[in-house]
Subunit: 652 residues, 2 copies
Amino acid sequence: MTPLPAEGRVRAVVEGVSPVVDGGRFPVKRVIGDRLVVEADAFADGHDVVVVELLHAAPDGRESDRIPMEPLGNDRWRAELPLDTLGRHAFAVTARVDPFATWRRDLAKWRDAGQDLTQELIVGANLVEAAAARTAGADARALSAAAARLRGTGSQAARARAGLDERLARRMHRNADRSREARSPDYPVFVDPVHARFSTWYELFPRSASPKPGRHGTLRDVIRRLDYVAGLGFDVLYLPPIHPIGHTHRKGPNNRTTASPGDPGVPWAIGAAEGGHTAVHPELGTLADVDALVTAAARTGVRVALDIAFQVSPDHPWAREHPEWFRRLPDGTIRYAENPPKKYEDIYPFDFDTPAWQELWTELLGVFRFWMSHGVRIFRVDNPHTKAFPFWEWAIAELKRADPDVLFLSEAFTRPKVMYRLAKLGFSQSYTYYTWRTGKQELIDYFEEITRPPVSDIFRPNVWPNTPDILHESLQHGGRPAFALRVVLAATLAASYGIYGPAYELAERVPREPGSEEYLDSEKYQIRHWDLEREDSLAPLIGRLNAIRRSHPALQTNERLVFHETSGDHLLAYSKRTADGSDVVLTIVNLDPHHAHAGSVVLDLPALGLESGSTYEVHDLLDGATYRWWGATNYVELAPQVRPAHVFEVRR
Amino acid sequence: MTPLPAEGRVRAVVEGVSPVVDGGRFPVKRVIGDRLVVEADAFADGHDVVVVELLHAAPDGRESDRIPMEPLGNDRWRAELPLDTLGRHAFAVTARVDPFATWRRDLAKWRDAGQDLTQELIVGANLVEAAAARTAGADARALSAAAARLRGTGSQAARARAGLDERLARRMHRNADRSREARSPDYPVFVDPVHARFSTWYELFPRSASPKPGRHGTLRDVIRRLDYVAGLGFDVLYLPPIHPIGHTHRKGPNNRTTASPGDPGVPWAIGAAEGGHTAVHPELGTLADVDALVTAAARTGVRVALDIAFQVSPDHPWAREHPEWFRRLPDGTIRYAENPPKKYEDIYPFDFDTPAWQELWTELLGVFRFWMSHGVRIFRVDNPHTKAFPFWEWAIAELKRADPDVLFLSEAFTRPKVMYRLAKLGFSQSYTYYTWRTGKQELIDYFEEITRPPVSDIFRPNVWPNTPDILHESLQHGGRPAFALRVVLAATLAASYGIYGPAYELAERVPREPGSEEYLDSEKYQIRHWDLEREDSLAPLIGRLNAIRRSHPALQTNERLVFHETSGDHLLAYSKRTADGSDVVLTIVNLDPHHAHAGSVVLDLPALGLESGSTYEVHDLLDGATYRWWGATNYVELAPQVRPAHVFEVRR
């Protein structure tokens, strides 16, 4: 016999709740100040009145008052939940048949039709009395009085008026019988600080930060570089690993397999006699210098992000102390990192299949804890997709539990589903394929994918036109104009973006060899000296873009990104606007770094908050020019050497 | 501290499994003989080989062998599961990192690159030995021997060949360590008989089945009508309620609130002194007649469907014996059915909020059980959306548990989400909005919605151009040609359809009053006599359509319904084809019953299995004409009085 349910009188249904990721398995991501828009399908059998409410528990477990949900039609309901606390929230949707609201609705109909109300008024009195019995104090007294009025000796009209009284309805709602309420599962929401969504990153190699050519840069040099970075409007300064670098099989310049005595090695070959993931490379400075950098950066409005690369050089203390954390060969040696038939002899990867996984996980977690104790609150994680997924879910949850403001950027240029999985597991931001998306349609398709639900509920893109590992061929061949247009795209398409500098602003673009995405003489293997004062530096353009981003909230979110029709394959037009429509930015970019292109832009006027046929001004935030436009179709011309793009403020 | 997982080394991930309804809360629906196509995203960290398998448990709990899933690219995997047992199946998807398959893949690469294999061969031997230790018998012996070969004194080339041996790979797969496998939840699938998907319904009122005008029809008359029904190609004969009809507040002809002595009343006002839901109306016959009808029908290939309407007349025995199953007024009387300010005094609805809900549910379940014991296997359920949803979920599960072949048709012309919920709860088929969809675009939109996932995974449309309750205005005004075109649409758009006859084939179309969807002199309130031999009967067309449906498997499913472009607002073109492409039916209908329309049809040739530019024949299954067509665009002309439609077999 199929068992009867414990309570068969739960007549309402809640389904189709959004936003929900994988049935509630993972939290949706929001930032402080967001209003979470919750929708659900809710209904019951028959025609009784259904009441739908949103429940909310804050990260500390405190439950908010029930928020009434409003019907949108077609049994869809909606409510908004303001999010003003960092951390893991939960919400649920409830629905129930409301006998009193149903009675009240019908009473008015019976009355208006002139029917005798004798029986109905007693039915109402019974409902009100039952509610009075469920509660105490003022409400109980008021409800008892109302029941008496309904039952009383007044005229039917007067008693009906008492039954329809608004205050009575509110009191009955407050004291409703919710014992047969349908309730959705609890769905999680993680609320991050605002800079999880809106951040502007600058990556530099401290080794090259010395003002003197030939001297190894230090963290103190980086402190002196802060004014430059902050002056350009960046708010996150990201440093590649700052730990001691291994000597065994150290790489030479341009990834040569042998190093000469003075070669500094690769910062990602972590660990030497001086220590491992919690030590500072002596040539860069000391832990005190890290503290000083974090403090000085904060003073300029910049947060320091450290790179966490979970792998070791053969000289790392862990390789000696914990060989069980690595995959070993039958002869007892540790397996190198490998991609058969290639071996990378300067690196040992961890073995996440080790029987000692608990110890390994705990130790790795400690690396984050260590740097958090030195004030670091943002981590760029190197190749997270080559570490076990359950580790990330556990480690990020554990770290955010006490410190919900800490952020993790996933450096995962891998398969899309793996990247999205890492986002679900807790990474706050992720690298993207932007670096390789240069064509008009592929840019549109990709940004539509990553800026809309379901992806945007879990995945926050941080787009990089270059990284130390990727000098895209469009930059190699497009010259300075390519660097200009790619940073304009990054800064205006995505709420978070970053550049690897000073290589970027100086348009460093010679590959190690033809067809390679590696830089010639890359800082990964050697110290470079950069002339920040160069005439042709893109720093002024980048500084202008970042200033525009700061003053235009439309650019600080990926919501409401809309692409507009343009003629030809080279002009790309898109807009962003704030939820209230008070800020609208329209960007038009010439994607061809070699030739001028002119053509028409056919604007989706409603997306810009404009009525069809209206006249409006577009004010170019890059060069200050203002144009008077009319209607949807307008003419633009962009020459790469003159201006890479229009970044228009749209003024009604 | 966030607790560590019990096992942190589950490195693979399974997500995005399909087909799944509401995260597995409800089963997807299939029929016997279907192959269930299961897809899932599966991957692991890093670059190890991932093995993905489909698990299946039959309704009796028996587990099938694991079915390997094949990669589709982009981390998507696929397998097919043949469904050959009625009832509730379950499937799950597993994924795991496979160390031996990874080793094998890499060994070939090391070998091809000419590397020394000393260590790798021992690694392999260790893996094989571990597998040998996990098993016994022939496999254990063979694996031990293979390990010895890998470790042996042969040349590296010979030992590598032994390691790459296909039989060894299969043995290792069979004996793999699955202890750290990722596994999806178990997802349910309900397998119905084929006629849950493909069925052709004929509804008639037994009261009007008498060959003699003026005499009350009987079930014996219905038996005599079987040849007619079966001869037209119908395979389900559906009868409105056959129970005793109440006398209190009995309705007269045309829904008059008072009946005259001879008026037969409404069959849905169930229950009188003679009995209730398990009794037969004496004027129709006896239980023995029901048995005889079911048996005689089966002999002609027709199944009998009974209408189950859970409501009672005031004279029903339950109203007296179980007043607690109804909503009562303070004066002790039972509330009538009502829609304030209207009351329906011939009907009492059940109160699903009653404290005695368990007894009520059990008794209602018993009604189905009773008729099932008389051989009835299909139930049309009247207004299921006004009964508590949990009741349906429980009752249908319980009834299908022992009798997985029983089918339930949901008569719910209500809000879309309510209709879909009833389908999820277990109803096998559902009424649809087809009855009101007459325009070209609304037909396309609606059929695209209901014939594609996610809707088609749970909802099986049974489309009716008319019912005793609905004489749509297009039939009232469109005359016989409207009846012709609407039945062509129903028969070719949907794998299941039905008509209310003989009103349909005789094009009965006078409304009770202008603007009403009710019939004048409806059989709901009085006995009618129908002249089945009328010259203008649509029976020949309907018989032809049903014969076409029987001989064309493309029309027996809603999968692969494709609409084709046509000129103008009146021509509608669509095709269906079988999965193997061996049967392709293209239907073109003139939706205007008043005027001829001509125009072009632009065919989606790949959807028809045709190459662009090819020549092919279209053979009209209605009139036998054959046309030679070329390419995508062809000309058609349809005059309502001459032919309502082309139903083409497409011949390559």
